[in-house]
């Protein structure tokens, strides 16, 4: 990479246009000021003959553009929050997977009145085994491998229901799958270079829940408190609440050190946490039919949770942007008491 590519090969080329199109992720003012410089540097670095930006280049540009937008809003903490939220999401998924596998999938299928899928009650066992494997991957393999594994876990989570429907096999209910898919989506932002906590938390939570499940079964002595997915909505709601409370607690602790990433992570996870309680909330609001909420009630509650989650995030971003603008204006308006000089520099974010 010692010599840049000759400009004649790339200037005005389709490749340059394609790089310029990817600049949409940046704020328009930034595009106008820095676009030529950024695209020129990309053209310097690409190998001769390339016609399209590589996927890594596209992701780099999109990520950098989004960070620049958040920087303009004074909300860079949100960018730092994604890996935190992803780690919490994977840890929760690993714990939930261990619980469902031990307490539901390995239970006698007659409890749920289902035709068993091999040794399991439903095809959901494949999903939970998959997420446990992702948790194990997070502990021992590089971050990029874990992200790929998480993408496979998410794919598995959203593929199993149609496969179950097509093959006539039983699958987990939607009130389990939807929050699992929401958390799976969050895991796509797992850190590239995970620290000790990000590596140890997923296996630790899975191991703890597995141990607690085994101890509970032993203490139950043949009891049947958890026999099918239908017996778990309360516990799921508690798991979602616990996840949110723990992340909020960590966020408040970090906020004391002027780091708001943890609070943004709590806000990001508010929606999946709410989805864990959607079944209970539906029953509380609309009443139950045959032991659970009606499909329409559940769909309405889930849609409302998604809308409220998105609105909360948008409101927090708008509030942060307004606060940032106010602080910036105050700095720019403030004249030096000695010489009357006014700052023209941007405020640090």
């Amino acid at each position: 990479m010692n010599q840049p590519n000759p400009a004649q090969e790339q200037a005005g080329s389709p490749l340059e246009s394609r790089y310029r199109r990817l600049l949409w992720a940046y704020p328009s003012g930034y595009q106008a000021e820095r676009g030529d410089e950024i695209v020129g540097t990309y053209l310097d670095t690409v190998e001769p003959g390339r016609r399209w930006p590589s996927p890594h280049d596209a992701l780099d540009l999109l990520g950098a553009g989004m960070r620049e937008r958040l920087r303009a809003y004074g909300a860079l903490g949100l960018a730092a929050a994604f890996p935190l939220a992803a780690t919490a999401a994977l840890s929760t998924l690993a714990a939930v997977a261990a619980f469902f596998l031990l307490q539901v999938e390995f239970e006698d299928p007659r409890f749920a009145r289902l035709d068993p899928v091999g040794p399991f009650q439903t095809l959901g066992a494949v999903i939970w085994l998959g997420w446990l494997l992702v948790g194990l991957t997070a502990a021992v393999l590089p971050g990029s491998w874990t992200r790929t594994a998480a993408a496979c876990g998410l794919l598995l989570t959203i593929t199993v229901p149609p496969v179950a429907a097509l093959t006539g096999q039983p699958g987990p209910p939607l009130f389990v799958l939807i929050p699992a898919a929401a958390l799976g989506l969050a895991t796509l932002a797992l850190p590239s270079h995970p620290g000790r906590a990000a590596r140890s938390l997923p296996p630790l939570t899975a191991g703890s829940v597995a141990a607690a499940s085994v101890a509970f079964s032993a203490a139950e002595n043949g009891g049947n408190m958890f026999t099918s997915y239908g017996s778990t909505p309360e516990l799921l709601a508690m798991a979602g609440g616990l996840m949110f409370a723990l992340v909020l607690l960590v966020g408040l602790g970090r906020a004391l050190r002027a780091d708001d990433a943890g609070l943004w992570a709590a806000l990001l996870l508010a929606t999946p946490a709410g989805l864990f309680g959607a079944n209970q909330l539906s029953q509380g609001i609309w009443g139950s039919q045959g032991g659970g909420p009606s499909s329409a009630a559940y769909a309405t509650t889930t849609g409302t949770i998604l809308l409220v989650g998105a609105a909360l995030l948008a409101a927090a971003l708008a509030g942060q942007a307004a606060r940032h603008q106010t602080v910036r204006r105050q700095v720019l308006d403030k004249a030096c008491p000695t010489c009357g000089h006014r700052s023209t520099a941007t405020t640090p974010t």
Partner: protein
């Protein structure tokens, strides 16, 4: 926002690249790759985000612009504050290296092999030629 210390490796290498002379984006990318022995390949989006942050923190500033063969080149240079931060970080790393070197030299005789070479937990087969610092990607 104050620069967090210790500096992350990409930040340290960007400041190091600018310590000798002002450079444009491609020059910094090439120099950081060379300084890290090829381990750290910064991408332009990441680099310019880091340069913006370092500019906000007063460690780096714009030097000059030129257009070469139709491409805009903007040069960046280290500020006095940037030079101070890099000097302090280099001194911190040097002290760590010296401390580690002294400890390794003072290794008890029982942990040395018959031919006099040391044999301890830091010797990992097949990794002798690898750098000890972990490669760091993402935002610099």
């Amino acid at each position: 926002m104050a620069t967090p210390t210790p500096l992350r490796e990409p930040t340290f290498l960007i400041l190091t690249a600018l310590a000798r002379e002002s450079m444009h984006g491609y020059g910094i990318i090439s120099d950081v790759a060379a300084l890290s022995g090829g381990r750290l390949a910064l991408r332009p989006g990441t680099l310019y985000g880091a340069l913006d942050r370092l500019t906000d923190e007063g460690l780096v500033e714009r030097d000059r612009e030129e257009v070469v063969e139709g491409r805009l080149r903007r040069y960046y240079r280290l500020t006095e504050a940037g030079r101070s931060v890099l000097t302090a970080e280099t001194e911190r790393l040097r002290r760590n290296v010296e401390a580690a070197t002294q400890r390794l030299r003072a290794q008890p005789a029982g942990t040395r092999t018959a031919d006099g070479t040391s044999r301890g937990p830091l010797t990992i087969p097949g990794t002798a030629a690898r750098p000890i610092l972990r490669p760091t990607g993402g935002p610099a």
